[in-house]
């Protein structure tokens, strides 16, 4: 029975808890050529900003021990570009459709959210890891006082379910989550990538033009899982957990730590069909362990 994989996240019903993470799955189209992506619980779009962005110059990817660093720099067609060229396909997918929104100022965030809220999508994921231009580049995702402002405004700007995506670079991840709950977010997703560095010792230069880049993949899983666990113990709104999930065992760990949905990012690059395999694995685990609904094991640890 597929049905026992269903989960409720705020007002939304997911077929299963498996959601594809922002920035690793485009707008779904590419993977659609490889398998039936409507079997998934949901997908998060590539991060969109108010205006089109060309992203970062120089190397954009570097492999590390069980991880990868990326410095895509939010290349995206902009909200309008998305609505014009991508939305038609995206909105007709039979799964939960989440649009990930980035921005450098509160005004940008609010405008983006207003535009996208008119469209036929299911949820907004607010990525607060982007730099806050006003505060001199300090990311919204670091200090909870700064995050509070943007969450408040975002909340006011939409009636759609709103999930705030936390950065693991936050000074206090639990405090940050509590702020999200206080400001009326419908859920939280975490973690985004870790600020990291790699140096080309022969060239005596950072691998990345921006000096630092974001680390993802199995390497970060133990830290991400801890953060998800801490957050889940301290808020009542539902959580989407992610960070280094590559198999169903990892997914179950996040669910036992308290996550309602799990997101898969980097693992898509290891195996484009990983989403299906993880869904099948969760189902198998539930049968073996006689778990009728994920509610039975969610947050059990």
């Amino acid at each position: 029975m597929m049905s026992n994989l269903e989960v409720e996240f705020s007002s939304l019903k997911f077929k299963n808890p498996v959601v594809m993470a922002s920035g690793t799955f485009g707008f779904g189209k590419e993977y659609c050529e490889i398998y039936d992506i409507e079997k998934l619980g949901g997908i998060c779009s590539k991060g969109l900003t108010l205006n089109k962005k060309n992203g970062n110059d120089g190397v954009r990817i570097h492999e590390t021990a069980s991880g990868m660093m990326n410095s895509v720099g939010l290349e995206n067609p902009g909200i309008e570009g998305f609505v014009k060229n991508e939305l038609n396909y995206f909105k007709n997918l039979d799964l939960i459709k989440i649009v990930n929104i980035g921005g450098a100022t509160i005004e940008d965030y609010v405008k983006s959210i207003e535009i996208i809220s008119r469209e036929d999508i299911d949820m907004i994921e607010l990525n607060i890891s982007c730099p806050n231009v006003k505060e001199g580049g300090m990311a919204f995702g670091i200090k909870d006082s700064i995050a509070r402002e943007v969450i408040k405004e975002a909340r006011n700007a939409t009636k759609l379910p709103l999930v705030v995506k936390l950065s693991p670079n936050a000074e206090d991840i639990v405090k940050m989550a509590v702020v999200c709950e206080e400001e009326g977010a419908d859920g939280i997703s975490l973690v985004n990538t870790f600020k990291a560095m790699a140096i080309d010792i022969r060239k005596r230069k950072s691998i990345f033009k921006n000096t630092y880049a974001g680390l993802s993949g199995p390497a970060i899983k133990p830290i991400a899982l801890r953060m998800v666990h801490e957050v889940c113990k301290n808020v009542t709104i539902p959580v989407m957990g992610m960070g280094g999930i590559v198999n169903y065992e990892d997914a179950i760990e996040f669910i036992m730590a308290g996550a309602t949905c799990i997101q898969i990012g980097t693992a898509n690059f290891i195996n484009p069909r990983i989403g299906l395999e993880i869904i099948a694995g969760i189902e198998k685990f539930m049968k073996e362990e006689n778990v009728k609904s994920l509610d039975e094991i969610r947050g059990i640890v």
Binding site: Y31, T64, V72, P218, F269, I270
Partner: protein, 229 residues
């Protein structure tokens, strides 16, 4: 999961890996190869070198962890292939030169086989490989060892040049063809993650804006590409 037929060492750290199965793909397209579990993390993009009814083959050079593991494969070992990805070379018609530098010759063999009647130019550091193999499908095979292949290439002789190799070589050829009627197609090598156009880490800057090397490429019209510096 596919099975290795053979993995032949050619010298100069180059190998030809032959894998059994029915595969799709045309000249200039590539597969993401993986002959390991979770380490290294990413699969490796390798061009189709040759393809037949019941096999596909890859010509690769050992440069790091992933290609090292490939080089240790033995007959009957398992390997995962995802693909074919990318646009591949256009089926052009006219006087054609294929120009490869080093391991850049990898995709040119299937191009020669497909297009026929081509002239082949191959530049090597120390030792030439696969000369005879290429001869079978081409009018002439020109080789330099330890010297730039561009030294012996007259772009004006050709309607089309398809090239793959070090960026500096391809850039040079594009420059040489500037103002002539010769159209140059280059096959770009960039690091990749997804291979399918979803992650945007493999950007190739072009006059038309950012393109995805994996999906919009790896073959681009040379004059469109904004090479580094």
């Amino acid at each position: 999961m596919a099975k290795v037929i053979s993995n032949e060492y050619l010298g100069e750290n180059m190998y030809i890996l032959k894998v059994s199965g029915i595969f799709k793909g045309k000249m200039g397209q590539f597969y993401m190869l993986r002959a390991w579990e979770n380490y290294p993390l990413l699969s490796r993009p390798i061009s189709i070198h040759d393809i037949g009814e019941d096999y596909i083959s890859f010509l690769y050079k050992v440069v790091g962890k992933g290609t090292k593991i490939l080089s240790e494969l033995k007959p009957f070992d398992e390997i995962k292939l995802e693909g074919p990805y990318g646009n591949g070379f256009k089926e052009v018609d006219g006087k054609i030169a294929l120009v490869g530098g080093g391991i850049g010759i990898a995709p040119l063999y299937l191009a020669a086989k497909t297009l026929k009647n081509v002239d082949v130019y191959m530049g090597f550091r120390k030792k030439a490989v696969l000369e005879d193999k290429f001869k079978k499908y081409s009018n002439e095979v020109n080789i330099t060892v330890g010297r730039n292949i561009t030294d012996i290439l007259d772009v004006n002789k050709y309607d089309y040049i398809l090239t793959c190799g070090p960026e500096i070589m391809m850039k040079k050829i594009v420059a040489m063809a500037k103002g002539t009627n010769t159209k140059v197609y280059v096959s770009i090598e960039n690091k990749m993650a997804c291979g399918v156009g979803a992650c945007l880490v493999c950007t190739c800057k072009t006059k038309q804006g950012n393109k995805k090397t994996c999906k919009d490429g790896p073959v681009f019209l040379g004059e469109e590409v904004l090479f580094d510096e």
